[in-house]
């Protein structure tokens, strides 16, 4: 299970090298595992996750940075994976929705989304949950107005918004940790 706070302090050395434009070997660290993809440098982190690494929990809603469905954590920061090139994530820790539960036990935020019916079609949900957990850790969930503002980067066309706020409130009020360390 991934600790949001701990990830933020991960070292992230960058090395300027020229690779591409053809396919290159890209080494990623996703959900605690080393993964290698043979991809062109133009491949987004989102497409690398979904199409190359079979991690389809992260969703593609617009591919333009407008909906939030593709939200993942890179070195413990909320990132729109559709606007991030996979190759720039080498030597960084990528965390996706698939890493949030511990075995069969849901992360408290996942459980709260389920219990509060904070989704309908579920397509925006992984992104909502990745944002929600992060906002809790960042301390942006003081009241409903603040939650509403900070969660407005994640569109839910089913409009489960009041229930999304309820789920976040519940985890906040139960003293649930923003990270998954509980």
């Amino acid at each position: 299970m991934k600790s949001y706070e701990a990830l933020r302090t991960a070292p992230n050395p960058d090395h300027a090298v020229v690779r591409g434009p053809g396919e290159v070997e890209v080494h990623l660290h996703v959900n605690g595992e080393s993964r290698t993809a043979i991809i062109e440098p133009r491949v987004s982190l989102l497409d690398a996750l979904r199409d190359r690494l079979e991690l389809t929990g992260t969703k593609k809603g617009c591919n333009q940075g407008a909906c939030g469905a593709c939200t993942v954590w890179v070195d413990g920061r909320r990132v729109l994976s559709c606007l991030t090139l996979a190759i720039t994530c080498e030597n960084r820790e990528v965390t996706t929705i698939e890493a949030l539960s511990e075995g069969d036990t849901l992360h408290p935020m996942q459980q709260a989304f389920l219990d509060c019916d904070a989704f309908q079609c579920g397509y925006c949900t992984p992104g909502q949950i990745m944002s929600a957990v992060a906002l809790l850790a960042e301390g942006h969930v003081g009241d409903d107005t603040e939650i509403g503002e900070w969660m407005s980067g994640n569109i839910c066309r089913c409009a489960a918004y009041p229930h999304i706020r309820a789920a976040i409130r519940r985890v906040r009020d139960e003293g649930g940790p923003g990270d998954a360390s509980r």
């Binding site: 491949v43 809603g61 849901l106 019916d117 309908q120 949900t125 994640n154 569109i155 409009a159 489960a160």
Partner: protein, 745 residues
């Protein structure tokens, strides 16, 4: 064991969704997969005069570049027919890429197939087209003089005009008359999951398509006609669908294009529409205006309603969303005239958009009612009560069930409506002008035409699998069906697994028109209760059963145990009976034959909406502070999921009222804001907490469980309630949606 129906069960597919494990159509792993990208026409009208595909064909990873010149033609182009009819259901009576003619901007003109999505995408930009454009019509204002009245609309299912009584006479004699015209911007559905099809040919006449759809069987039948294959050759699978709102209710071009492309390259093809393509590939709510003329006596009793609609349709179909239907029966009105006027333009055929027609038609009527209330000095709620119709004003027949007056009453209590100061601009908090408004909500109960089927199989350990071809796009239908099946069989929900989402399963209609859950629910109810009765029959006929010789009608099932109703200690479990008699399982196919639409009753769903807004006196910004919606949707299968749908619908109404508009650039004939950054939908900060309540009305007419549907009624009336609240706050009537702030400056 308390009944499962009505309980607040968490979604049965919820765990998968919060863990990111549900496989939506573009996520099903397929070996040897290739990726297709559609290229769209940049002009709105004209012809392709030249195409150069050479550079695209040479690009790395490209397997095929298909245009009308080398794409194998479709076998037949079926006519538009709403998918509720249960047959082939193309979104328009036109299929692209058959010749060089361009009818609308965004029409598919080429498909590129490559080994990766990036390469397909890039190669698509390398195709060069030359066009000979012709003048295009893309706005109502460009061609209102060419309007015509269609004989029928909506795939031929509804008349283009209707009347009763003598409207002209009633208007001439009216003591009060409200005559107003409302304009509506086009709207796009924008589900967060873009439409996606993955086509896999197992051999020359066996095709599987993973498709995001409201009706796997509709896709199967439509593909069969387009591809010239028998339905047995086509399997359509839809495990999970990421929202639809009407965009996936009809069958558009992408599944067939994916299938044709896959056949061409001899490999599976995945075709996912881009967000921009979602604005030109699966219909929209059309640009329209509606004129309402309300005649009334000085007491506010309506004597005539005239309702005319003018809207833009495609070159192919007489499509208008049916805006006049619900308003025509909302209130007693002895004299009525409703007419659709259409203008043909260069557009894809518009389509169902959540509360298709009701959202706009009831906006017009309910704003006019508010104006009438103000004119005669009567409380808006009181005006509705004075005009309440206890029978269907169109047919004179009784309602199968109503509950509308209870909805008004409950909404007024929850909202605190009574004691409202009716004067505009009577409440102010700092720079905010506060206003409240209300509206009625109506949505028709539309019956599927064909038998609806579901299969129930009980295993000898007492667990059951129940199947029907319905897809789950957020309605909660898999959860509700689990509950219906559990009650039908008399076993706990944990022992039921509902399986849907494939055309191989028993045929149910596409889940459209708020009728999906009732259609499949009726079939599941019949299948499971018939299975239960079958086992009771076997038990009472079995010499070794403690129930031998009992009257089957005296036996009930609780927690998987068949017992005598008045002696619950006498009986045995399904499992005991089945083990003893060597039955591995028992299976029943349940068939529900829907009653005819006109079965001696008026059938509608009713509700009441109330909203409070705050309008910035200087800037014109409108914030919705709270909303109350009370509905009478018949039997509620799952309180939690049903309330979620109603709540989502109400927030859709908020979007319709204040935010949503697709803007046409008439010079180019293209949408100017085809993205989620530019087409505004409600975000979290826009959405107030919403109070939803339901009045349970008993309805024995509509279907065996008395369900009337919750998918769309939540939208209806919200925009009017908000517009009326804006008037109450500011004193300014709103005649155009969305109510953007410049209208309040």
């Amino acid at each position: 064991m308390s009944p499962a129906i009505g309980a607040t069960l968490n979604r049965v597919d919820g765990r998968f969704k919060v863990r990111g494990e549900s496989r939506y159509s573009a996520e099903v792993p397929v070996p040897n997969l290739t990726h297709a990208v559609v290229v769209n026409a940049k002009i709105a009208s004209g012809r392709i005069t030249a195409i150069d595909t050479s550079e695209a064909e040479r690009a790395e990873g490209v397997l095929a570049v298909l245009t009308h010149r080398n794409l194998s033609p479709v076998a037949t182009v079926p006519k538009l027919l709403p998918s509720l009819a249960g047959l082939a259901a193309p979104g328009q009576s036109f299929f692209p890429m058959q010749d060089e003619t361009i009818h609308y901007a965004g029409q598919p003109v080429a498909i590129v197939v490559a080994d990766t999505i990036e390469r397909a995408d890039h190669a698509g930009t390398l195709i060069r087209f030359e066009y000979a454009p012709t003048p295009a019509t893309t706005l109502l204002d460009q061609a209102r003089d060419q309007a015509y009245v269609p004989e029928r609309i909506f795939g031929g299912l509804l008349p283009g005009h209707a009347s009763r009584g003598d409207v002209a006479k009633a208007l001439a004699e009216a003591e009060v008359c409200v005559d107003t015209t409302y304009r509506f911007a086009p709207n796009h559905h924008n589900p967060i999951e873009p439409s996606a099809s993955t086509a896999v040919w197992e051999d020359a006449d066996r095709l599987t398509v993973y498709d995001s759809t409201q009706g796997p069987n509709s896709v199967q039948f439509t593909l069969a006609e387009l591809l010239g294959l028998p339905p047995i050759s086509i399997r359509v699978v839809s495990h999970a669908v990421g929202g639809s709102f009407g965009s996936k209710a009809m069958v558009w071009h992408h599944p067939a294009l994916a299938a044709l492309a896959a056949r061409h390259v001899g490999r599976p093809v995945r075709l996912v529409l881009t967000r921009e393509q979602m604005f030109t590939s699966c219909g929209h709510r059309e640009e329209q205006e509606q004129r309402i003329t309300l005649a009334a006596g000085a007491d506010g009793r309506i004597t005539a309603l005239r309702h005319h609609k003018l809207s833009l349709t495609s070159p192919f179909d007489d499509w208008a969303e049916p805006s006049l239907q619900s308003p025509s029966v909302a209130y007693t009105s002895p004299n009525y005239e409703g007419i659709y006027h259409l203008v043909r333009g260069n557009t894809i055929t518009p389509t169902f958009t959540r509360a298709p027609g009701e959202a706009t038609g009831m906006f017009a009527l309910e704003c006019a009612m508010d104006e009438l209330a103000e004119r005669i000095g009567v409380d808006p709620l009181e005006l509705r009560l004075r005009n309440y119709s206890a029978t269907d004003p169109e047919s004179g027949k009784p309602w199968s069930s109503s509950g509308l007056t209870e909805c008004y009453q409950r909404a007024a209590e929850l909202f605190g409506w009574h004691g409202r100061d009716p004067r505009p601009r009577s409440r102010r908090e700092g720079q905010w002008l506060i206003g409240t408004g209300m509206a009625s909500a109506l949505y028709p109960v539309t019956q599927p035409v064909n038998p609806q089927r579901a299969r129930a199989r009980l295993y000898n350990d007492g667990t059951a699998v129940v199947e029907a071809g319905v897809s789950e796009f957020g309605t909660g239908v898999f959860t509700a069906m689990t509950q219906v099946a559990a009650d039908g069989l008399g076993i706990p929900v944990e022992r039921v697994r509902f399986v849907g989402g494939s055309s191989d399963l028993p045929n149910v209609t596409a889940a459209v028109g708020s009728a999906g859950t009732s259609a499949v629910g009726s079939a599941v109810h019949l299948a499971t209760t018939q299975l239960r009765d079958e086992l009771i029959r076997r038990a009472v006929a079995d010499d070794h059963s403690p129930l031998r010789g009992a009257d089957p009608a005296a036996v009930q099932v609780r927690d998987g145990k068949m017992v005598l109703r008045d002696r619950p200690d006498v009986g045995e479990t399904y499992a005991d009976l089945m083990h003893r008699t060597f039955m591995p399982d028992v299976e029943v196919l349940g068939t529900w034959n829907p009653p005819p639409q006109d079965a001696g009753y008026g059938v509608h769903t009713f509700g009441a909406q109330m909203a409070e807004v705050a309008v910035d006196a200087d800037l014109g910004v409108v914030r919705v502070r709270r909303m109350v919606g009370v509905f009478a949707p018949g039997r509620v299968l799952n309180r939690k999921t049903a309330h979620s749908q109603l709540m989502g619908g109400m927030l859709w109404g908020l979007g319709q009222a204040l935010l949503e508009a697709t803007r046409m650039d008439p010079r180019m004939g293209r949408w100017a804001n085809a993205s989620l950054g530019d087409y505004l939908v409600p975000v979290n900060a826009d959405a107030p907490d919403v109070v939803v309540d339901t009045i349970e009305v008993h309805d024995e007419v509509v279907n065996p469980l008395g369900m009337k549907g919750v998918g769309e009624i939540g939208v209806v009336g919200v925009a009017a309630a908000i517009a009326n609240a804006v008037h109450h706050a500011t004193g300014r009537r709103q005649y155009e949606l969305p109510i953007t702030l410049e209208k309040l400056l």
